[in-house]
Amino acid sequence: MSADLVLAGRGRRLVATLIDVLLVPALAIFIMLVTGVLEHAADWSATARPMLRIFALGVVSYLILNIWLLWKRGQTVGKAMMGIAIVSTKSGVRAAFWRLTIRALFFPTLYLIVWPWAAAFPLIDQLLIFGRRRRCGHDYVCGTSVIRRG
């Protein structure tokens, strides 16, 4: 990675993540309110698959909030607000979109692993940020780093 790039601080990354975590359900609720997609008894019947609807609302909200920024600038809304961005560790420039997509899906996917003994995976993924290179597990997998963008 280029020497003139400054790694983002752990605090900024945490706040950016919290912003994203709050914005996604907030938008999902807004979409739910406007469309009424989970407002009536029929929407909660087994055949209507309410859990799938909730999951879809979350995915759609995440994509609405983040896809443009991720695509164009390698940032989520939270990261843009905190002045940090995701770059390729190797080149120091915006990572390829496919890498960003895998990176975005990596962490939620860890929670889909159902074996009880795998519950530590998400924790390990996050704890790696306390290493010298400040990279989480998903950064290593996708070849990315998070830097300050002034």
């Binding site: 309110l33 406007v34 009424g36 008894a41 909660w44």
Partner: protein, 528 residues
């Protein structure tokens, strides 16, 4: 070899493996059944005559715990069906099991992962016996009693998209009457949900194949939009009036009686917190009587009375959670006896629903008062009223709690005796009340308390005859699954021959959960 054994033990421990005692290949005896309905009989008397139980006040002291079956849930909701040699019971998460009465070994299991929430019913036709049970959400199941194979299953009848099968159906002459309640009472806790549109109901289906015969909503009018909150979410009404409990059948009049719960939203209806009498042939309403008007409540109110879905004003949630009992007084009059969560008991004229007498047994509240079921002994002219009076937050009734059992004169409603209970500790799980349904024998009554004690009470005097404390661990069980005792609630005890069968543990409403199916037997006796 030793290494292999140790490895097997380790694998079993890691997998939580448990071996049930199995007597597969043995066929259940189906010549004698000890009950015909949730209420033991279609009149819902919860009374076992001497032909069906040999346990009496004189010998109850000889009851001993015979075996324990570790159930797969900590809130068991199934009531057993007993034959001369077999106990059929729902083991939620595992399925319906047929257990040998003497050893507890499993004759067969109908595998089913859902929540079995009913008594097990039976019907014999053309030399073949069918068992029936309901899953709380999935519907109605019919099995071959000999081997537990599926005969048919169907979704809950009616027009409710989120139905809840809470009360046990009742079978009469090839027809099954199915009480219907609704999950909407819980969905309303979501502030973005447009509360509420569903109605309670009663349906009749054929026992031969599950086909529908008729369906009666307890709220005939369809819901309308009554307002909005958060700009977009539509408030709707009327709704609610669910049928929580089993119905009662009156063969003489051809009527089906059942109680309803509160409305979920306002405006309310005249059909909530009511007793209904339907014509069993077509579901038409012969009469109905409302006992609490203007009662609108749903679980959003438990979060906050300012919740957008909490009806304003919030009602007291005073359902009829227990089936009405059709009984004869000593002078031959017929009465329909209805116990309400308010703690009030009403005796009605079964011809028109007019009130003959009223008695207030407890202070009541959202969890009773009278919660799951009363019992009668017609020969003694007594109605036995279990009272919970557990603290139910802001829905606790007013006045002093009177947890215990009360005997009322059937003809007049006058109090004959009371058996009041005191708490064993101050924790909520130590509530001393009788919330579970009770069962009466010829000269005694069995009741299980919320604080885990099973008691036999003299029917004539109210004197405590026998008590068993189920608050303990049962590490060794016939199912191979360790069991724990807890609160007695829901369906309560069953008497069959020289055995007393009851599930201990009910982890709902912050009570002490448990999974122990306890089978007691008179020592030194043979099962009749």
């Amino acid at each position: 070899m030793r290494r292999i054994t140790l490895a097997a033990v380790a694998i079993a421990a890691l997998c939580g493996h448990a071996n049930a005692t199995v007597c597969a290949g043995t066929t259940p005896g189906l010549a004698k059944f000890y009950s015909d309905a949730w209420g033991i009989d279609p009149s819902s008397t919860r009374f076992q005559p001497a032909e069906r139980t040999s346990i009496t006040a004189a010998n109850v002291g000889r009851l001993r715990l015979k075996w324990v079956y570790g159930l797969s849930t900590d809130a068991p909701r199934s009531y057993p069906l007993v034959t001369e040699d077999t106990i059929f019971i729902g083991d939620s998460g595992n399925g319906l099991v047929a257990l040998d009465r003497q050893s507890g070994c499993t004759r067969w299991t109908f595998k089913h992962e859902g929540s079995i929430g009913s008594a097990i019913l039976h019907e014999g036709k053309n030399g073949s016996t069918t068992l029936f049970f309901t899953d709380r959400t999935e519907g109605i199941f019919a099995l071959n009693a000999r081997d537990g194979t599926l005969r048919w299953k169907r979704a809950p009848p009616g027009d409710n998209p989120v139905p809840l099968l809470s009360g046990t159906p009742l079978i009469h002459d090839g027809t099954m009457f199915v009480p219907l309640s609704s999950f909407e009472v819980g969905l309303a806790a979501n502030p973005f949900y447009g509360c509420c549109t569903t109605s309670g109901g009663m349906a009749a289906i054929k026992t031969s194949n599950g086909d529908g015969l008729w369906y009666r909503r307890t709220i005939p009018t369809l819901p309308q939009v009554t307002g909005r909150h958060y700009w977009f979410v539509q408030n709707q009404a009327p709704s609610g009036a669910p049928a929580w409990a089993a119905p009662t059948f009156d063969a003489k009049r051809g009527l089906l009686y059942f109680g309803t719960g509160q409305n979920y939203s306002r405006p309310t209806t005249t059909t909530s917190d009511s007793i209904f009498a339907l014509d069993a042939s077509d579901g038409s309403i012969r009469w109905r009587h409302q006992f609490t008007s203007g009662d609108a409540y749903n679980t959003s109110c438990d979060l906050s009375e300012r919740h957008p879905n909490c009806p304003k004003p919030m009602g007291p949630d005073l359902d009829f959670g227990a089936p009405p009992i059709l009984a004869h007084t000593l002078d031959g009059r017929e009465l329909l006896l209805a116990g309400e969560k308010s703690g009030a008991v009403y005796a009605l004229n079964p011809d028109d629903g007019s009130v003959v007498w009223t008695h207030r047994a407890g202070r009541g509240g959202a969890l009773g008062g009278v919660h799951w079921g009363m019992a009668v002994n017609e020969a003694l002219g007594l109605l036995f009223v279990p009272v919970s009076d557990i603290v139910a937050g802001h829905l606790t009734g007013k006045g002093e709690a009177r947890p215990g059992l009360f005997a009322l004169d059937l003809a007049s409603g006058a109090l004959r005796w009371s058996h009041l209970r005191t708490a064993r500790c101050s924790d909520r799980t130590c509530s001393p009340g009788f919330s579970a349904a009770i069962v009466a024998g010829p000269d005694l009554v069995f009741a299980g308390s919320l604080d885990g004690k099973l008691e036999a009470i003299d029917a004539r005097s109210g004197k405590l005859l026998w008590s068993y404390d189920s608050w303990k661990d049962y590490p060794s069980t016939v199912s191979g699954k360790p069991a724990k005792g807890g609160a007695f609630d829901a369906h309560g005890p069953m008497l069959a021959g020289d055995q007393l069968i009851v599930s201990s543990g009910y982890g709902s409403f912050y009570q002490r959960g448990g999974n122990a199916l306890l089978v007691f037997e008179l020592s030194g006796n043979k099962t009749p």
